[in-house]
Subunit: 337 residues, 2 copies
């Protein structure tokens, strides 16, 4: 089967200069892949020419006049930028020209536009953002990461179903473990929404194992961890801040004394591996779940290598038909109630 | 002035075996300090004898029959353990025998017992937990870290006042900067409570600078960051999990190849410094704020060095009279409304 993916070629910090090489590399790697590059035609063609890929028959350029800025309010982007590369890339999915869309653009605008253009699956209110975090014993899918604040216990259950289906599909795991993020593992801990969600999850057909705490986000012991978007966003940003602080401290320690400099020179390859392992771009490609279509959000600062990781994530979700799997399970949920 | 501090000698993972040496070291360091060691007299005397400190006139042993277990439910500890070392240590503050109390015991039980024995300051509902996090450009006081879930906007304002007074007192800063933790810096971001709290903070006499995101917990750019206890606890535990994962990864990288082993041996002193800098015990001594008295929570796994850090924190708060400063400013708040 051919997999068609629409790329918002203008999104992110670098636009076509990194996204076009990512596209070309992905086409070389996956023979079943075809790509629609959406954005300013001239800029895209120029990049294609640089890489001798102007004649690549598996690339189609779709012109889009406008670009959504990284800090543009989502409502404004939705209202005023009907010809943005982001919007037209998403429309390729709605029109059946692409199986999925990948964008490194403004998260809020991507979410609002995807929701408007593709619509939500039945009984779903807003998309949830799901990403993968590395851990000692494996990795963990975490959602929601900022799309929803003040989620109800029913929404937390929906996140759990979506996260479970996604993990089951992309990791080939039959019955992934699901936990709720809380301030303690005991049943009496936490706020009312988390406690109520725990009851709903325990009654569901999910492989629910109970509450976990913040440190479990990096243990890799649980397949799926569910939380409100406010909490998830703060946990993720806190991690970014701490990782940066640690790298800063290491740099300091390895440059302030002669011994430090020597040790630093010797340890450099190891420290580079560490940096690589901690780089959020390594796990690039967050899924916007709950939509009638596949939309993958790449980190805004993604380079060609990490943007290609997001394309790969989109391909897997297409092959595994993630939205249909989620939809089938949301229907089940409704029948149960 | 003599500073008297009551230590819960039985709390934490190690009890008297680390707390007694911490006490003796602190007495050597601070000539104005006197200590009440509360707990099982025999165990404490045995430790004192080991360190030739049985005759130290600045130590008084106060016998307590019972010990609150680390995972005992707070309500049970409060109801059934009226002769616990934790409770009797707190009672020393109420009775005027000590200016402050330090415990490495069960956080929930410490909070519930402190609140019951000492009572809250006027208009305060529950204690907030405040600790210090390290950052690139300095360090930051963060509260609440788990005492309160679902805090109202008024409670977030109270946390801000308490955090500001604490920071001003212990850091000798006139007008510490205060920010609210949110999922974005724009005014429209976040949940209703955070948005309402932002209005209250902007109207207050605090040096309020607006919203910050999770990564700012480790920037050191803001003096005080305020959040709901649910969010604060998860941010803190996420940090612990990530720091552990990074150390695990470093250990792995430095042991899996011959080059790694060599580099690791050379970099070992630097890596030890890193571990030391990341060790939460380095910043030991979280303040329980809002009480009619000073209570410091030490990390449960604190060794003698880090327990002494918590004793030092208690001394500073006594010298700066933190509860009175908070109380004066809470009164002001009420007059304004």
């Amino acid at each position: 089967m051919t997999v068609n993916i629409a790329l918002d070629a203008m999104g992110g910090d670098y636009g076509p200069s990194e996204i076009v090489p990512a596209a070309i590399a992905s086409l070389s790697a996956y023979s079943e892949l075809e790509l629609l590059l959406v954005g300013k035609e001239e800029a895209i063609q120029e990049e294609l020419a640089k890489h001798n890929a102007s004649d690549n028959e598996r690339i189609q350029v779709v012109h889009a006049d406008e670009v959504v800025e990284m800090h543009e309010p989502p409502s404004q982007a939705l209202r005023n930028k009907k010809n943005s590369s982001m919007r037209i890339a998403i429309e390729q999915v709605r029109e059946g020209h692409a199986h999925a869309c990948v964008s490194a653009g403004n998260t809020g605008a991507l979410m609002a536009t995807a929701r408007f253009v593709l619509k939500m699956l039945p009984n779903m209110d807003r998309p949830a953002i799901c990403t993968t975090l590395p851990g000692k014993n494996g990795h963990t899918h975490v959602l929601d990461l900022g799309a929803n604040v003040d989620s109800s216990s029913e929404q937390l259950l929906q996140f759990a179903i979506m996260g479970s289906q996604l993990t089951s599909a992309v990791e080939n795991k039959d019955n992934p473990t699901v936990a709720l993020l809380n301030v303690g593992e005991e049943e009496i801990k936490g706020n009312d929404r988390v406690k109520q969600a725990s009851v709903l999850l325990a009654e569901s057909n999910l492989n629910y194992i109970g509450f976990v705490e913040g440190n479990d986000l990096y243990s890799g012991d649980v397949d799926v961890i569910v939380c409100d978007g406010f909490v998830g966003n703060i946990a993720l940003k806190t991690s970014e801040g701490l990782a940066e602080f640690i790298q800063h401290t290491l740099r300091d320690l390895f440059t302030t004394s002669l011994y430090g400099k020597l040790a630093g020179a010797i340890a450099l390859p190891i420290l580079k591996s560490l940096k690589h392992k901690l780089d959020p771009k390594q796990y690039n490609g967050a899924s916007l779940l709950g939509l009638r279509g596949i939309v993958i959000k790449s980190h805004g600062s993604a380079d060609r290598v990490s943007f290609a990781t997001a394309i790969k994530e989109a391909m897997i979700e297409v092959e595994k038909n993630v939205p249909d799997r989620i939809s089938a399970n949301l229907d089940l949920l409704q029948l149960e109630n």
